[in-house]
């Protein structure tokens, strides 16, 4: 691939007790190419994201970002370098309202530390409302997150990551829990926004429809290993992938 390598993982290895969650994982993430990760449950997809974002330190191997070795760097360091993440299980500030969640992200991104300015008045507010609108949550801006159903939490979790204006965005099953009637639409909008802002996305996904539509590349994980990697059309029709991941069509 011709474009610049944004992040590269080399020889990642990690095991939990007897479970090998990453076994010599080598993969490059190219700027502007959205990468979808698919694979059976427990294959090590989330673990890979955890390593790339600094949540876990690999037992062996290295991660570089923008040419710098970032292995084992704390998540907040990576975030400041431009790596953001949306989670499989939404990670939100449940005692804050939706808009407050976003404002915190915006303030963190813009490094607004002034202890005497109310957060509600920061200039990024409009931008955040727009972001909420984009994930179709504008109407719940003032609801406390603790009251929200799972699906909306997922969307807000993604919005939080977007608020950080990252260069590289990891999304762990962005559409699971989002009603099927909405997910394509919402993801369309997000994808467009990402493309405009030149954000590269890496996402774990079980919905093959979504993968086909939004991924430039697909990587197939199994038992901590990257089995296949390539363009969606090729990978998704591979018989092994169909058997282990997608399931035969009826």
């Amino acid at each position: 691939m011709s474009s610049k390598v944004l992040m590269a993982a080399k020889g990642l290895e990690i095991r939990f007790g007897g479970v090998v969650a990453a076994d010599d994982v080598n993969i490059e993430i190219h700027e502007g190419h959205n990468l979808a990760i698919i694979g059976p449950n427990g294959a090590g997809k989330t673990t890979f994201l955890n390593i790339c974002t600094g949540y876990l330190k690999p037992h062996r191997g290295s991660v570089t970002f923008d040419g710098r070795d970032v292995t084992g760097l704390a998540p907040r360091r990576l975030v400041r370098m431009g790596v953001a993440r949306a989670f499989q299980i939404p990670q939100l500030f449940t005692e804050h309202t939706v808009i407050e969640n976003l404002l915190i992200a915006a303030a963190a991104q813009a490094r607004r530390w002034s202890p005497l300015t109310p957060i509600a008045t920061i200039p990024e507010r409009g931008e955040m409302l727009h972001l909420l609108d984009m994930v179709r949550c504008a109407h719940i801006a003032d609801r406390p997150v603790s009251e929200l159903p799972e699906g909306q939490r997922k969307l807000i979790d993604i919005a939080l990551a977007l608020a950080l204006k990252p260069k590289l965005l990891f999304m762990d099953e962005p559409t699971s829990g989002v009603a099927s009637s909405e997910k394509f639409e919402v993801l369309d909008i997000i994808a467009k926004a990402l493309a405009e802002a030149k954000v590269t996305a890496v996402f774990v996904e079980h919905d093959i429809g979504i993968v086909e539509r939004f991924a430039d590349e697909v990587a197939v994980w199994n038992r901590g290993e990257v089995l296949f990697r390539g363009v969606p059309g090729e990978i998704l029709s591979h018989p092994d992938v169909i058997r282990d991941v997608i399931g035969e069509t009826v």
Binding site: P75, V79, F93, E95, A108, P115, L116, P118, S146
Partner: protein, 319 residues
Amino acid sequence: MVLLVAVTPVLAPTSQVLLTLAFAKGLAVLGIIVLLQAGQVSFGHALYFAVSAYVAASVARSFGGELVTTLLAGVAAAAVVGLVVGVFVVRYRYIFFAMLNLAVSMIFFALLEKFYYVTGGSDGLQVPRPTVVGLTLERGEFETILFYGALVLSLLAAWGTHRYLASPLGNMLRAIKTNEVRLEYLGVSARSTLLSGYVLSAALCGLGGALMAVAQGIVTPEYAYWVRSGEFVFIAILGGSGSVAGAFVGALIYEGVRTYAAAFASDIWQMVLGIVLLVIIIFGPSGVTGLYQRLMDRLVGPARPRGAGDSERAPGAAE
């Protein structure tokens, strides 16, 4: 409300010192409330109360003692100690945080008792009455000045803390309570955020301690005892842990109930206090300020649907 408090000494002169003491405690409680925002409880904040009180006492004893410098020295000392201890304790959460603070404060308490040649042991140190802008005052005048000084300081501290809590930093502090992982993933260090809150809370406790020292005219190791730390937490909840005003309302009510219970039910004052507390928690878990809010809601109609954390939640509706 503020006005009411401000004119009280004119109407009931003896309440003046009681109110000054309540303000001093209220300031310390404000410090506790700051930490409660992050979901952390300290059972050792009496440490800062005492550090500041002892430093204020020493300053008042050795440098002739001007009120302003005495208070400032106390607060500065508390903030510095808060920073040093804070760097260590912000790594911990919940009971560990609570107990480490307790441990540090108890060590300080023990030191105050042990080095009794310096600290006066459990007899403590007398604090000579400081001068006010160079003037030496009679007790009466001094107490009046101290009362209004305390009132103004409390208002300032309450306003400042309120702004802080509404600011990005304050919101991040509150975010620690619910999701540190996400905070880290926003590029914010949960520890530094907590440290900023911790130093602020130490400084507030320090202000309360210094004020208490000059108002009481004596400092004793009891200032650092865990019971006092417990008392601060107690008042914070009594007033309503969510609001800045709660600190002072709680302190006023607490001091009032305790003093009058000790006077009129001198052998069962603890029981009286305990029952008052239970009633408040069971019927108004968001404290006195919450009760007031609810009353207003009922009279004027609710401002907006109440959030989570209210008693009406389904059993076990855990997050």
